[in-house]
């Protein structure tokens, strides 16, 4: 297969091959931030010096290239590689910002059903030989696209927002994954003020149900929308609570013993007045 062709020195596997980790980022439900999480976690891991490959497995709805700002550089995609129309090295797009980050984009005009599961598994195995981390951005749903995305992975990160529907879907996905993937949890789009007012499920509420190892919590920040608009992942920055949360999650993924990040409650004067007068929480 094309992926076994010789590769340039700088990305070639060392003589004693230590396989990288293949981690699928999944959630079941759509729109919870899988792609944003993949882009930011990949960026944060690459900023630590790790060699990272991001694979967009969402065939038909290609987005990861947009979030990374790489859409104009994509020449070949996942299916081109799987169908041996392009060599893996031709298809890997080098990131603009992070030296050691590469992207394999999904096909936009194709369908998830066209992906061959065995070939997908072989592709991820080939990427593991040359990278420290292979992050696979899983499509929403639990059908064939999901099955192909998890095929080559050996770990899973599940992304969940503090909503009933998202928690229910993660619960289902974790059940489907089974124990093999050692799923870990990222809670995304948390709004601490709403939690305090009793208008949003808290981290504890979510994980009382899911009972998964918590990698970290990401706040619902306008900055994430802005950086996505620009195609520059927030994790390129080193300042700010949310950017730091991604770096801390990356450190935890890398095995560092640091506490899981959680957004702090920042209250305005009006919030304080409000909670003074109507502060009883049920």
């Amino acid at each position: 297969m094309a992926m076994h062709q010789p590769v340039p020195d700088e990305v070639a596997a060392p003589a004693a091959v230590k396989l990288g980790r293949a981690i699928v980022i999944t959630s079941g439900k759509g729109g919870v931030g899988k792609t944003t999480t993949t882009a930011n976690l990949g960026t944060a891991l690459a900023q630590r010096g790790a060699r990272v490959a991001l694979v967009d497995a969402d065939v038909g709805l290609r987005n990861l290239d947009i979030v990374l700002g790489l859409e104009s550089r994509v020449k070949f995609h996942l299916l081109d590689v799987l169908e041996e129309k392009a060599a893996l090295d031709e298809a890997l797009v080098r990131d603009k910002h992070s030296e050691s980050l590469v992207l394999l984009a999904a096909a936009q005009a194709r369908e998830k059903e066209e992906v061959d599961t065995d070939r997908m598994r072989a592709l991820i195995a080939a990427l593991r030989e040359r990278c420290d981390y292979v992050l696979i951005d899983c499509p929403a749903g639990i059908e064939l696209g999901f099955k192909n995305a998890i095929a080559g992975a050996d770990e899973a990160i599940v992304v969940c927002t503090p909503e009933v529907s998202a928690v229910r879907d993660v619960d289902r996905v974790v059940g489907l994954l089974g124990n093999r993937f050692k799923p870990q949890l990222i809670i995304n789009r948390l709004r601490p003020q709403l939690v305090k007012k009793g208008k949003m499920l808290s981290v504890e509420d979510v994980n009382a149900i899911l009972r998964l190892p918590l990698l970290g919590v990401i706040a619902d920040e306008p900055e994430i929308i802005i950086t996505t608009n620009k195609g520059e992942p927030l994790a390129l920055r080193r300042d700010g609570e949310t950017a730091n949360a991604y770096h801390t999650i990356a450190a935890r993924v890398a095995g560092e013993d640091v506490p899981a990040p959680a957004p702090e409650l920042r209250e305005s004067l009006m919030d304080k007045l409000g909670s003074f007068f109507g502060g009883r929480r049920a």
Binding site: V164, R168, V195, M200, L201, D205, R211, G278, R280
Partner: protein, 134 residues
């Protein structure tokens, strides 16, 4: 203002509602059963146990709890008497047993006199057998 009043007097917040909805929806997801089946199961459970001991039917509690991704059914069934209301082996004997010694047991069987209407409609032969005995 109404929202404010509700909060002041300790009404349930929407996150509490979300938590409760989530708990219930996952319970049924995990059981892969519809809620009415759980009610039927509770009734059948009481029926079976009443064959052996006398049960306080009004205060039977059946709950489902999740512990480390395992769902457990916890039944709290108060026993009022250990007198056997009827010989255990044959369910039809129990169903037609108004002549037992304990008056409590009599009341219990009397309240179970008519077949539950919902169960009749259900086309599940396995659960229907005691009801059809009537």
């Amino acid at each position: 203002m109404i929202e404010w009043m509700k909060r002041f007097f300790g009404g349930p917040t929407s996150s509490t509602t979300a938590k409760e909805r989530l708990r219930l929806v996952l319970m049924t997801d995990h059981l892969a059963l519809a809620p009415e089946i759980i009610a039927d199961m509770k009734r059948d459970l009481i029926e079976v146990i009443s064959r052996y001991v006398e049960v306080d039917r009004e205060n039977v509690e059946v709950n489902f709890e999740q512990e480390d991704r395992v769902l457990a059914m916890l039944a709290n069934i108060p026993i009022t008497s250990v007198n056997r209301p009827a010989p255990p082996p044959e369910p039809p004997a129990y169903a037609a047993a108004p002549n037992v010694a304990s008056p409590g047991a009599q009341a219990a069987t009397a309240s179970n006199g008519g077949p539950p209407p919902r169960r009749r409609r259900r086309k599940k032969p396995a659960t229907q057998s005691p009801a059809t005995a009537h």
